[in-house]
């Protein structure tokens, strides 16, 4: 075990708030770092780990125990809310992430948010896993929760293409959906804080690969501002893809951190956000963690550290075939210090 001048949790929280530098940069995972290899090492596999709180917590803890990350994040899929709201979800397999099979909402009136949302099995499992992690690791390790924002939940409920087209042909419908679905995000996030999360990731994929910064500004920025106000606790925004053109809007929204991709250059991002929001990222999945060698990971990691990223992390949920050696290489590079 590494001699800690600072505990993983203190290191992570300090990075999240852009604070004291400490012994070294923190390595965290706002999104899943589970791979088939990690499942084999723990003996806990998908899809069980999406639906059983003990298995979910144990597999998530392997990110700390086996990979040496400073955080534990138990929500591996992006479909927990979708199932609770009525989508049919295929929970996948060890080599396949879950996916919503149906998109039942074509009109706002068809959207039904159950009163017992937090009691729905796919929601409750995450809350119970967080409680277990808090109890077993809470003093030592950063506990990260994760919820989907109203934009991402709309993709699942309505279908991506339909929802994106509505932004142009029926913007009122989009606003009404976001207005109602933000209540799901707020309720689930607040429950995750109560269950023991130190910080909650809000994943809301208004990505540069799909929509313009203006679309984010018009539709989502005021919604995000309200969500952050009503949650109160620390938040990290996750939007993958190239979002170089909207970083200032994320600052304006008020997130504590932004979890970003390799496509967004770390040096540019550090300059643009100017320490008004922490940057968490941005080791490339496609070319490096999945497709590269530990040496490739090392090079990218050092680049991100030198650029001034606040917390290191894989850029997004890692591909399930990612080798453990590559994930550990992030931690190794971080351990070399500043």
């Amino acid at each position: 075990m590494e001699h800690h001048l600072s505990s993983p949790k203190r290191r992570f929280l300090s990075g999240l708030f852009g604070g004291r530098k400490g012994d070294r940069i923190s390595v965290a995972n706002p999104t899943s770092i589970v791979s088939v290899e990690l499942m084999e090492k723990t003996g806990i596999f998908f899809p069980d780990a999406h639906l059983d709180p003990i298995k979910m917590a144990e597999l998530a803890a392997a990110g700390y125990e086996i990979l040496g990350f400073d955080s534990i994040m138990p929500e591996f899929s992006v479909q927990q809310e979708a199932e609770a709201l009525g989508c049919v979800v295929d929970w996948g397999s060890p080599s396949m992430m879950p996916d919503a099979k149906t998109h039942p909402v074509k009109e706002v009136s068809q959207l039904h948010i159950p009163e017992n949302l937090l009691e729905k099995p796919s929601i409750r499992v995450v809350l119970q896993a967080l409680e277990l992690l808090r109890k077993n690791y809470g003093n030592q390790v950063g506990i990260i929760g994760k919820v989907m924002g109203p934009w991402t939940i709309s993709y699942h409920m309505c279908g991506v293409q339909e929802f994106l087209l509505w932004t142009l042909i029926d913007p009122d419908k989009v606003r009404a959906l976001l207005d109602r679905l933000k209540e799901v995000t707020i309720a689930f996030a607040n429950a995750q804080f109560k269950a023991g999360a130190d910080v909650v990731v809000i994943a809301d994929h208004a990505t540069g690969d799909l929509v313009s910064p203006k679309t984010y500004q018009d539709f989502l920025l005021p919604v995000h501002q309200e969500i952050i106000q009503r949650i109160g606790g620390p938040t990290i925004l996750h939007i993958c893809g190239n979002c170089s053109d909207r970083l200032r809007l994320f600052v304006e929204a008020g997130f504590d951190g932004y979890h970003f991709e390799w496509q967004v250059d770390a040096k540019m991002a550090v300059q643009t956000v100017n320490h008004e929001m922490s940057l968490v990222g941005n080791i490339s999945n496609k070319n490096v963690l999945f497709g590269g060698t530990p040496e490739d990971v090392y090079k990218q990691t050092r680049y991100s550290i030198e650029a001034g990223v606040d917390v290191l992390a894989p850029e997004c949920a890692v591909p399930l075939q990612t080798p453990i050696a590559n994930l550990k290489a992030i931690v190794e590079a971080a351990r070399q210090g500043w």
Binding site: S95, L168, D209, K286, P319
Partner: protein, 216 residues
Amino acid sequence: MFQEEIQRYYEALREPKINKIEELVREFIEKHVSSVVILNEGLIGAMGIIGQEFKASKLWVPEVLLAARNMHRGIEILKPELLKNNVPSKGKFLIGTVKGDIHDIGKNLVIMMMTGAGYQVIDLGIDVPQERFLEAIDKERPDIVGLSALLTTTMLEMKEVVKSIPKNFSSPPKIIIGGAPVTRKFSEEIAADGYGEDAIRAVELADQLLMSKGMI
């Protein structure tokens, strides 16, 4: 067609209300403009501008989805006239998302752009097993086959499909691949004929491949 007229088609494709494109196509039919000109210069010409603007990040996916919806409606109105003229397509393009992958927004963007560029597109849909690709190639005899994958897991399936096509056909179609995890390096490794990083590049690739075959 004059530049100002193509501009009117462009504006109609950008219009959230679908009646704009309906009125415009009807207006040109009534003016006795050839349906081939309306299609190739008006609708396809305007879609080309949309494609270029999308590539240059001046437009985004919602605008492309809207333009594709409007264009589709324009072609529907034009169809009776086109049938009278028997317009040939640029080439036949067969596309599907490989087995294990159900994500289709990238594939659908490619279809919109290929249709918009004048290709006849056959969409096999999502989660398409190797046998279905082979059966469809045998039946349809496409000039080009496009394979799409969003997941890293399904890239391996892509490799199998790419390998199987030349084995099964004496004059196989050209194969182009794309999707979020796919790279040029991967495309070269599995010996596909081309890699497109986005939907516009897919059209350019298809044009180049057909040109090298002397088809256009």
